[in-house]
């Protein structure tokens, strides 16, 4: 499936990318995280198990076992700190 993946705040800066389009063979958010971890370096570090990051699919926060629909807008970001 095709995914548009967005990164925000500290993760955007550490990854050095704000947005990318991926061809992705997995099914769930966890599969996507595992795929990104294989890039190594800051990707493996920031997305390691136990690290505090959040994910949204089509602008709704989701859990790691959520299924990703084709052409989804997926976002990965740190816990929010507005207000």
């Amino acid at each position: 499936m095709k995914l548009r993946v967005l990164y925000f705040a500290r993760l955007r800066e550490r990854f050095g990318v704000g947005e990318e389009t991926l061809d992705f063979a997995g099914a769930t958010a966890a599969d996507l995280v595992a795929h990104l971890q294989t890039r190594g370096g800051v990707w493996a570090e920031e997305l390691a198990a136990g690290r505090a990051f959040r994910m949204a699919v089509n602008q709704d926060v989701i859990a790691l076992d959520a299924l990703l629909p084709d052409n989804a807008e997926v976002a990965i970001f740190p816990p929010v700190t507005g207000g």
């Binding site: 925000f8 970001f77 740190p78 207000g83």
Partner: protein, 151 residues
């Protein structure tokens, strides 16, 4: 209901006046303004930059306001959150809630702030003497939001 994400300052008096204009059924308007401080976690802060997730931000704020409207009988709600670079003393966020009586207006206003802090995709980066740093999420904010689930 009015929800805005903007770089410009907001005008608390004008926003609250607009909520009650032409109406005679509102008995109470509770409001909150959050401001940028010059200190955080023991370091001086010269400025901060607020980043957000355009599209999801408005959706998340609307969901928080809808949640408040399902818990209390509210007559109007305004939420304005600024983004971009702000200096100490600058207003960051405005929440104003109109109701018939004060109890529900106060509760809903504090609820919206507590949920906004933990649900809406905003991130603060501070400029300090030791360099720039992303603000970490606070356990106290999670606790503030969680207490509304018990009641």
């Amino acid at each position: 209901m009015k929800i805005l994400v903007q770089t410009d300052p907001f005008d608390l008096g004008a926003e609250v006046a607009a909520m009650s204009r032409g109406r005679t059924d509102i008995g109470a308007i509770a409001s909150f303004v959050g401001l940028a401080r010059d200190m955080n976690e023991g370091s001086g802060v010269a400025a901060m930059t607020l980043e957000h997730y355009p599209g999801m931000t408005e959706k998340a704020l609307a969901a928080v306001v809808d949640d408040a409207c399902s818990r209390w009988t509210l007559l109007d709600v305004t939420v304005i959150h600024r983004v971009g670079r702000l200096l100490p003393g600058d207003p960051i966020v405005l929440v104003a809630v109109a109701g018939s009586h004060r109890g529900e207006a106060f509760d809903a206003c504090e609820f919206i702030m507590d949920y906004l802090k933990t649900q809406a995709p905003f991130w603060k980066k501070e400029e300090t003497m030791e360099g720039d740093r992303w603000v970490e999420a606070r356990a106290s904010d999670d606790a503030a939001a969680a207490r509304w689930q018990a009641s």
